[in-house]
Symmetry: C2
Subunit: 322 residues, 2 copies
């Protein structure tokens, strides 16, 4: 029902009917010198991302270093963000952990904070688990939380999790919990997999995990993208979305420009690289910190990153006025 062959002339009704749509930013998490979460710097960044055009913010996906923080740390930041004026309907909270009990606790907590959208990794320590076992894991969370308003976005990132969210698993969950299963973030980086999801589950909000696939996704019924590099180039991704929804013939050139920025960043470890860019252009060295096991970008790598971006449409000045 969302398939189309040419750009529409305004934001199509079909995309706004999806459980979520647009450009979502999985927000980077700045740290204090003791490696605790710097919630005030986070809030400033979150407000800036929305001002730059993000439709919403994914808090505690991979880019937020989610699994590097404890459950209490994650809950505290969600509370602070909502208190700090980010509307809960603009948030999608990562709640999928290895431990069923942690996933239940974080999901309940997100709902209590007013956030009904959650992004759930499968439990990712044990590898080679059956779809049935993974289904039971998600089902236990959904049933224990027992809140029909819950909107679950499944998080497929096999390169890091080692545990794929397969077509069969999505189908099992979609059949059993049609009101709760809302979409998928596909961070496989494999367009043929995203294409499969779009074809097979047109009623779900399918978000490619990179803006590289934003325009192709939108033209195929996709929901938009949830993309790490929106932390430094949200405007570039939003421009693609707007051009597409306006039916502008600039959409393809916008896509090319954003893709070139992405490729330049992808030559470095993504989280340290983007933290480096925010620190550099914002003149705020504290932003460079990452939690182990990650390491901050070295000065040499940082210079190489800046050099690579110099040949693209990347606009560091946007980061300077945060």
């Amino acid at each position: 029902m969302h398939a189309r062959t040419a750009p529409a002339t305004s934001t199509p009704r079909s995309i706004t009917a999806l459980p979520a749509h647009g450009v979502w930013s999985p927000v980077l998490v700045p740290l204090r010198p003791d490696l605790s979460i710097d919630s005030e710097r986070f809030l400033a960044h979150a407000h800036w991302l929305l001002a730059q055009g993000c439709h919403g913010l994914a808090l505690f996906g991979t880019t937020s270093e989610a699994n590097s923080f404890s459950v209490p740390e994650r809950k505290a930041l969600v509370e602070r963000v909502v208190e700090g004026g980010i509307a809960p309907e603009r948030l999608m909270v990562g709640t999928g952990c290895c431990a069923l009990t942690d996933s239940v606790e974080l999901t309940r907590h997100a709902l209590d904070a007013g956030c009904r959208r959650v992004l759930m990794l499968p439990p990712f320590y044990y590898k080679g688990m059956s779809d049935e076992g993974l289904f039971r894991s998600f089902a236990e969370v959904i049933e224990r939380v027992g809140e029909p308003a819950l909107a679950v976005f499944l998080y497929h990132f096999p390169r890091l999790s080692g545990v794929p969210v397969t077509e069969g698993l999505i189908a099992l969950l979609d059949d059993k919990f049609p009101e709760v299963v809302a979409g998928v973030k596909d961070s496989s980086g494999d367009w043929s997999n995203t294409r499969m999801m779009l074809d097979r589950f047109p009623h779900l909000a399918i978000f490619p995990g990179s803006e590289v696939f934003l325009l192709d996704g939108l033209r195929s019924g996709g929901a938009g993208c949830i993309t790490a590099t929106s932390n430094v180039n949200a405007a570039g991704a939003r421009a693609i979305f707007d051009a597409w929804s306006d039916g502008s013939d600039t959409a393809d050139s916008m896509q090319e420009a954003a893709t070139a920025v992405r490729r330049a960043i992808d030559r470095h470890p993504g989280i340290p690289a983007q933290k480096y860019l925010i620190a550099h252009y914002g003149n705020d060295p504290a932003w460079r910190a990452v939690r182990p096991p990650m390491t901050a970008l070295t000065d040499d790598a940082g210079r190489d990153l800046l050099d690579g971006l110099a040949d693209t449409a990347f606009d560091g000045a946007r980061l300077a006025v945060r």
Copy 2:
């Protein structure tokens, strides 16, 4: 200094000088119908394992479904086990999590409970991290805990964690924290890797993660083994250890017998298979439960498992009198 070429005539002094030695069982965790930890069944099993000859118990490694439980659930069981009469010096507590703060909390808690030996996975969500980043992760835990009595056993299980504990990482940690880094559990299943560790770090307690390598390990200066299938065949592994330490010429035949048992179990998913055996021989169906994403062994697979074991020295009767 621990290398030897022939079995000694009594437990060699060198092995007793290691930070730990012998047959350690990574204890299975039984569940209640609501999937919470059944601490009373656990305690009974733990006492039985020691009575069967285990030198010690590893609580919350892979076989304990450690990562499927929350930090509060893990802490509660450690406390109950010590209260329930298992001496803390017989315990090695798994405390390595994805989140630095969780690893610190669990390690401090283990020490507070009197358990100075901890088994630490590296943070295992992010893949391809540098040895330097992983070193920093372990170093932060050791420094934040700040307890010289701490004995850290590094946990190398690349097939599940996706994050190897490399020779270079061990060397970094061993150089920086010689009093704290005590050993390695090598669950690679690759004897050449265990052999490298034995050669390179003879002062550390190197435990192969399977009894298949127990005798080879002991003869090469290894510490013993920490092996999942000791949950159902502890006596078989202990018999190898005793034959070796007594200089008995039965050690090799003991090894062959235990290896055959292991191979028969390895044809099925290990945790569900062993829970099935305990449930079957102990006439206690509650033992079959596993936490998602794992699934319990089906009846058909259970019969196949029993058939496979029928051709081995496996002694189910031992499990009947628990």
